[in-house]
């Protein structure tokens, strides 16, 4: 029997779940292997749980969602987060450093109608997560490799080394060394295939921190490139800014400045 899969959405842009639909060459094969019984973006009939595999996109930003994710976990045998929102809090986690009251006022004429949490947090802060697929958006090959692993009853493993390794494999010229451009590659997890350097620009960290990084040295590197203070803080507080090594380094730089 095909495993029953579900795709859940929390605060997100839909880009990660779209990666399933963007797998044009694999989509029908995928449907032959997995039964997406709950996938509101792609299917109007929604079947009840329990689910064998749940893919969760998006971060937790509202009290309702904080309750909903618990139910999702209860209904799901295996839960994989897909994307930076679900895995790291996402770009919307920038609110975590801000006054959300003020954010509400900036965005809405009648802020009192808005119910939101003061933070955007990754799924793992709320429930147990079995597998985290990083990226903003997740890489389609990685996503399908996770599906394949689960079908083969194998624990999915995704590489966690730095973008630099793939950057060199791809034959890019390093933008740090050859152009003096700031690049988060040395401290960022691979997955995108070193896209930004291939497009002549520094990596901005879509895939979150690599499994091992030397943030002190990296901060000194940024500083030597003239990226200090607020500029350095902004580089680190981006799409995955809420993840610990980056958060702490940015916070330290911000504190230093004060």
């Amino acid at each position: 029997m095909k495993p029953r899969a579900a795709v859940f959405k929390f605060a997100s842009c839909d880009g990660c779940q779209l990666q399933f639909l963007n797998a044009e060459d694999e989509l029908l094969k995928l449907a032959g292997q997995v039964d997406f019984v709950y996938f509101p973006e792609a299917r109007s009939r929604a079947l009840e749980g329990p689910y064998d595999i749940a893919f969760v996109e998006g971060s937790i930003t509202t009290p309702d969602d904080a309750r909903r994710i618990i139910k999702v976990r209860e209904e799901s045998h295996y839960l994989a987060t897909i994307g930076a929102c679900a895995t790291a809090g996402g770009i919307q986690a920038l609110r975590n450093w801000a006054d959300v009251e003020q954010y509400r006022r900036v965005t809405y004429p009648s802020p009192e109608f808005i119910s939101t949490l003061s933070t955007s947090t990754p799924i793992s802060e709320h429930v147990r997560v079995d597998c985290e697929v990083w990226g903003c958006p997740v890489d389609q090959h990685q996503l399908l490799a996770v599906v394949r692993s689960l079908l083969s009853k194998a624990r999915p493993v995704l590489p966690a080394y730095s973008v630099c390794m793939d950057c060199k494999r791809r034959g890019n010229v390093c933008v740090v060394v050859a152009r003096g451009a700031p690049c988060l590659g040395p401290v960022t997890r691979t997955g995108c295939g070193a896209l930004c350097p291939a497009f002549n620009r520094g990596c901005y960290g879509c895939f979150g921190p690599a499994d091992d990084q030397n943030m002190e040295s990296f901060a000194r590197l940024l500083a030597s490139q003239g990226v200090t203070g607020d500029d350095a803080v902004r580089r680190l507080r981006g799409i995955n800014g809420y993840v610990r090594p980056w958060r702490e380094t940015a916070d330290a730089i911000a504190a230093d400045k004060k």
Binding site: G32, L144, Y161, V176, E216
Partner: protein, 368 residues
């Protein structure tokens, strides 16, 4: 080495054309994205003509060079490594069958390659990789398929980058072996020598005449001048013993405080051969490819086994790399793993310099 011939500049154009005609894909130093690397060349003007590189630890810039100078840029961003030891390639395919599966080797598609402008350090590095992939107990068919027909035109260095230290590693600046043709660039044309039967045959087809005595002298003077002016050096004396004994030198920690563990040094090194072997299954589960990719001892995964990581800290990994490169390599393959090209110094984003690290350890040993 064979007799010195004179090769006028236009003959370089002929050489490129002739190699294409002979069925080679011809590659040479080409400027791209602010650096020079081997890429397809059809004519001399495709090369990084009249350009100069400036290199220092963690920094590379490409700028204007002497007008008319063809090989003014020394070793580029990438060595020959990616062309023979591919960054990523499929080795095997396993297909499911009714009962079990069938495995077949994937033969590499390898058009013969000709390289123009290979430096002595890179030739030395190629010899090191040959030793590893061809002359060890196991013989790598993929490497061999690409390597066997390659045609190598060396260029002797008339200047060095500040990061070069081939003299101390005894690999340059003159190419003495491992090439088919070698060139030394002069104001007017080149002094060329052939280093193989294939090279001789091509030289004969080009119809080159013998080089004049003064040309030979000035070619030698250029190479000697380059050697004499080399700014960096690494004292190779007794390195295995030194590095083995100094496994607990505090300098490793110091280097680790700077090292990003980003893997760049190992990726650009022309001799590093570590690779990962991964099986990639098709979505429908009917086929799986075994893929080999460059790997690095700087990744945490490299020394990981279930429940243990043998090199959990950056200092462990930096020491592993350097000790392997400069010491264990000699025990393993009878040659140093370092040829003095200096790429790991230039292309390290934070500019860690292995020659300085070794010198520091030598200067302050903790054992004896």
């Amino acid at each position: 080495m064979s007799e010195a011939l004179h090769m006028p500049q236009p003959a370089l154009e002929d050489l490129i054309a002739m190699l294409w005609r002979e069925g080679f894909k011809v590659l040479g130093p080409v400027a791209r994205d602010g650096a020079v690397g081997f890429d397809e060349v059809r004519k001399v003007s495709d090369l990084a003509v009249a350009m100069r590189d400036t290199q220092e630890p963690g920094r590379y810039r490409l700028g204007q060079g002497a007008a008319g100078e063809i090989f003014g840029v020394v070793n580029g961003a990438f060595s020959l490594k990616p062309f023979f030891f591919a960054p990523e390639e499929t080795l095997l395919e396993a297909k499911r069958e009714r009962r079990g599966f069938k495995v077949s080797e994937v033969a590499p598609v390898a058009p013969p390659l000709a390289f123009i402008g290979v430096r002595a350090c890179d030739l030395a590095a190629l010899a090191v990789q040959d030793r590893i992939f061809l002359h060890d107990r196991f013989h790598d068919t993929h490497y061999q398929a690409r390597r066997k027909d390659a045609f190598l035109v060396a260029v002797n260095c008339a200047r060095s980058a500040p990061t070069c230290f081939c003299v101390s590693m005894k690999t340059g600046p003159e190419a003495t072996t491992g090439f088919d043709l070698s060139l030394t660039e002069l104001e007017q044309g080149f002094v060329t020598r052939s280093g193989s039967a294939a090279g001789e045959a091509i030289a004969a087809k080009l119809g080159l005449s013998a080089a004049g005595q003064n040309e030979v002298v000035s070619a030698k003077a250029r190479i000697d001048g380059c050697a004499a002016g080399m700014q960096r050096g690494l004292d190779p004396t007794d390195l295995p013993r030194l590095l083995y004994a100094e496994a607990e030198n505090p300098r490793w920690k110091d280097a680790a405080s700077r090292c990003l563990s980003c893997t760049n040094c190992t990726m650009v090194c022309p001799t590093c051969f570590c690779h990962a072997v991964v099986d990639q299954e098709e979505l429908d589960g009917n086929m799986s490819r075994r893929v080999r990719k460059w790997d690095s001892c700087f990744s945490l995964e490299h020394a990981h086994i279930h429940g243990i990581n043998f090199r959990p800290k950056i200092e462990n990994r930096y020491r592993q790399w350097l000790t392997h490169k400069l010491a264990a390599w000699i025990d393993q393959f009878g040659t140093s793993g370092c040829v003095g090209c200096g790429r790991c110094i230039t292309w390290c984003p934070v500019g860690i310099d292995l020659t300085a690290e070794v010198a520091a350890i030598r200067a302050h040993p903790v054992k004896r």
